[in-house]
């Protein structure tokens, strides 16, 4: 347990977890600027992973009736309606824009815009859920992703409040914790995850993380050049509070607008300090009782004299 493995940049999480000869770390780059809110990712994820139904209610939150990530929702498309004049978002390089999509009414901007974003487990470099799991059920795969072993999880629920993104959750009907596995089974067979496979606009891109980061940097530069000033990458930086995310995003507004924390931290970063304080507190408890036993004896002794 060294500090370098608890927080800060960590180039090879799979290697540090004991995998030798691991394949390159993979992840998702979700470019929300091309998301059309079709929810194919949600459906593909549900189907491939055989996730149970978890609510068929209308939330009143725009077209979002999924509400958020959870035990049985591993991809979640957020819909945000904004009345903001905004510059048009250009299509990615090399993409043909069909006449309908290039319609003047839609591309010229206007007073309304819809932000749509497909959220997913971030597969953090420093994953708090994995750190705090007492059974070893959560583990780091050879692909650098974070997966729950359902045959081990005993439903202690510690990972749930540990996650700075509010991703992992216990399924009420089952008791155990569930989250996105980045389709560990498909990765093992050389396939891309179901959500990325199903995404019709390549908003969800899967691949080696280094490659995705390069691609994302180009795309955000392209957007800035086109005047989309508020475009920014989220979770791409290995120096951030979780050591960078395995699944990172291009957002068109502040992270909290999408329900993402603006500056997430892996809490185990502070664990050495917490253990020190707990040790000092334990000693002060002993000290308090020692004093309590000594003081009356001393006072009584004085009284006799």
């Amino acid at each position: 347990m060294t500090d370098s493995l608890l927080s800060g940049p960590e180039p090879d999480p799979a290697g540090d977890a004991g995998h030798t000869g691991a394949p390159p770390r993979v992840g998702f780059f979700t470019d929300t600027s091309v998301c059309i809110g079709c929810k194919a990712c949600e459906v593909a994820c549900k189907e491939w992973n055989a996730l149970p139904e978890d609510g068929l209610t209308l939330t009143g939150m725009s077209y979002d009736n999924t509400a958020g990530l959870g035990a049985s929702t591993w991809r979640h498309v957020a819909f945000i309606e904004q009345s903001t004049p905004h510059p048009p978002v250009p299509a990615p390089e090399g993409r043909t824009v069909l006449p309908l999509a290039g319609d003047a009414d839609q591309s010229a901007g206007g007073d309304l815009r819809w932000l749509m974003s497909s959220d997913v487990c971030k597969h953090c470099t420093h994953a708090a859920c994995l750190d705090v799991c007492p059974t070893g059920s959560l583990f780091r795969t050879e692909f650098g992703t974070v997966v729950v072993q359902e045959d081990i999880c005993n439903g202690c629920g510690y990972c749930v409040p540990a996650c700075p993104y509010g991703v992992i959750e216990q399924r009420p009907s089952d008791g155990r914790a569930f989250k996105c596995t980045l389709c560990y089974d498909r990765l093992g067979a050389g396939q891309e995850p179901a959500c990325a496979k199903a995404c019709p606009t390549e908003s969800i891109q899967f691949g080696p993380l280094d490659e995705l980061r390069e691609r994302a940097a180009l795309r955000v530069d392209q957007l800035h050049a086109a005047g989309v000033d508020r475009a920014r990458l989220y979770g791409h930086d290995p120096a951030d509070g979780v050591g960078g995310d395995g699944a990172f995003f291009l957002l068109l507004d502040e992270p909290e607008v999408y329900g993402l924390p603006p500056d997430p931290q892996v809490t185990t970063r502070d664990l050495p300090a917490m253990w020190k304080h707990a040790g000092a507190a334990a000693l002060s408890l002993v000290g308090g009782f020692t004093l309590s036993f000594a003081l009356p004896a001393v006072l009584r002794g004085r009284g006799r004299r």
Partner: protein
Amino acid sequence: MTRPDRPGDRRARRSRKGEELMVPRAEFESYYGRPIIKAPSWSARDIAGYFFLGGLAGAGSVLAAGAQLTGRTTLATGMKVSSLAAVSLSTAALVHDLGRPARFGNMLRVIKPTSPMSVGSWLLSGYGPAAGVAAVCAIGGRLPRAGAAATAAAGALGPAVATYTAVLAADTAVPAWHGAHRELPYLFAASATAAASGMALVLAPPGETAPVRCAAVLAAAADAAATRAAKRRLGMVAETYREGRAGRLLHGAELLLGAGAVTAALAARRSRAAAVAAGLALLAGSACTRFGVFAAGIASAEDPAYTVVPQRATKEPSGGPGPGPDPATARPDGRETPQSTD
């Protein structure tokens, strides 16, 4: 979608003693007001109850060891039995709270220093049997040497059992817990001492409780000081310690601990009834502290403001803009911005 900070005005009105919040609530944006992190699904009865019982057991074992060393046999036996009962109930509560109680054995599948729950499981698996042997030997009056060794072992592990639960709570993304990760262990140590002192005042004759009365006063003072320090550290998140269920519980804890300590110091030597009353007040006060801290954590997890506003403050210490060139503070574009209503 941005939305006005609805709970803000309610909160200002509900603040205790009708005082106005001195600092206006910072503006923040959220996704339809939904929480960002997920609150633990732990039940308050099981987990806050465990925080209390674990403290009672752990600190009680230290008190029992001290009483044994100084020849206070009734006190020593009483605290050993109380610690065994408390740690047994604790274990039951912890197993009951699991999503898969039948798999409680998996807690000892690995040893993980990065998981306070793993550390705690191993700690309890060492402490529990020691507390058990100490209590059984004290009641049966047999195997005095084994009893003494077990008393010493339980006394040595007790302080860790009483304080590690603070790390357990603080090592989460829950703002009211993690933000106070430096202070919570001291608060839990104080609260545990109060509980054990309370139990001792109930169980032991006044002739043996001079150290206990002293410990009760120290514990009440330390509890108040640690709570104050935690609130100061937490800044705007400290609202969760002052308002709602948590606010009522922590206020109650302050009153009960204060009354218990004063009664213990002034009247418990002469009157057995006063000692029992003081002891019960201290026990109740300790429980209120644990349930209050637990409730504050849940409240802080359920409101995105407590996640977003402090993270914004650390990310932009000068209050300047984020990564985008458009300052978050000024929105000339006339978009729907959240209104601080207090």
